[in-house]
């Protein structure tokens, strides 16, 4: 009987705990990807400013409401603009930013390829 009770307790407590832990992990992940707009070079997760603390509560509420990670990001983007996200979106202002590494990569590749051809000849 005792074992059964113990089993039942573990059975009921364990999933609740892991669910809470999951939410906490997700909350940390989201707040690490949001910029604290009134701080210099800090994420919302790192900051202890009034703004960041309120934002953490809102993230918590949104997770409890059942919003997905993406939905939470777009919620904050609609309120504060794209600047709040650390990952810049791919649009006409950021084409250059996203494509430059690729461009340099191909250019480097072309140079190496050329040298290789030269050597072979």
């Amino acid at each position: 009987m005792k074992i059964l009770k113990l089993f039942l307790i573990i059975f009921f407590i364990f999933p609740i705990n892991s669910l809470k832990a999951d939410n906490e992990v997700l909350k940390n992940k989201i707040t690490k990807n949001l910029r604290c707009l009134i701080c210099q070079g800090q994420s919302v997760y790192d900051s202890d400013s009034e703004f960041a603390n309120s934002l953490k509560i809102v993230v918590d509420n949104k997770i409890n409401e059942g919003l997905s990670e993406k939905q939470i990001y777009s919620y904050f983007q609609s309120k504060y603009g794209e600047w709040i996200l650390y990952d810049p979106l791919f649009n006409k202002n950021t084409y250059f930013l996203w494509l430059l590494p690729l461009l340099i990569f191909f250019l480097g590749g072309a140079i190496i390829f050329n040298k290789f051809l030269k050597k072979q000849k």
């Binding site: 009134i38 309120s54 603009g81 140079i111 050329n114």
Partner: protein, 172 residues
């Protein structure tokens, strides 16, 4: 052709880097927040300061009048500075001033209003600061001019005499 490619690509990369750094020199280091205008009043459930009653924000801003939503707190020094301007603005019949009491205690807020006067038609009690986030606010003080359920102006920081004149022009 092959000999030309290397110096050309080096020159190309150099020019790109030069342009980026040159543009970077002209940018200021101070981040100015994006002031988005002409967007709808956010709909959310809020608690009123006096009655503890829960209402939707859309019910507060429902008439055709102009509304000035002001985020304030008793611990915020610039709020004291702008308070006289808010008191002045309440003299306009066409404008209602609504407050969001940000991360404050009711006792301190009441003392503040007793000392400096109460310009607010209604006050939203926001002790966690989450309502201010709904409005896209950065902190205290901040003010939004609202007409027909749309935010038409946003003032970050304390209201100045110039912003007061601007608000008066809007509500004329």
């Amino acid at each position: 052709m092959k000999n030309k490619l290397l110096p050309l690509s080096i020159a190309f990369i150099f020019i790109i880097i030069f342009v980026i750094f040159y543009k970077g020199l002209q940018d200021t280091n101070i981040y100015t927040p994006e002031v988005k205008k002409n967007y709808e009043v956010p709909s959310s459930s809020v608690e009123l300061f006096d009655s503890n009653e829960k209402v939707n924000t859309l019910e507060i801003f429902n008439s055709d009048k102009f509304y000035l939503l002001n985020i304030w707190s008793s611990w915020c020094l610039p709020c004291r500075q702008e308070h006289s301007i808010l008191m002045e603005l309440t003299k306009n019949d066409n404008l209602k001033v609504i407050g969001i009491n940000y991360k404050d205690t009711k006792k301190n807020a009441k003392n503040f209003l007793k000392e400096f006067g109460n310009p607010y038609d209604k006050i939203i009690f926001d002790n966690k600061g989450t309502n201010a986030i709904e409005w896209g606010a950065y902190g205290v003080p901040e003010s939004f001019l609202i007409n027909k359920n749309k935010i038409i102006m946003k003032y970050i920081g304390p209201l100045s005499k110039e912003s007061m004149e601007e608000i008066k022009l809007f509500i004329k």
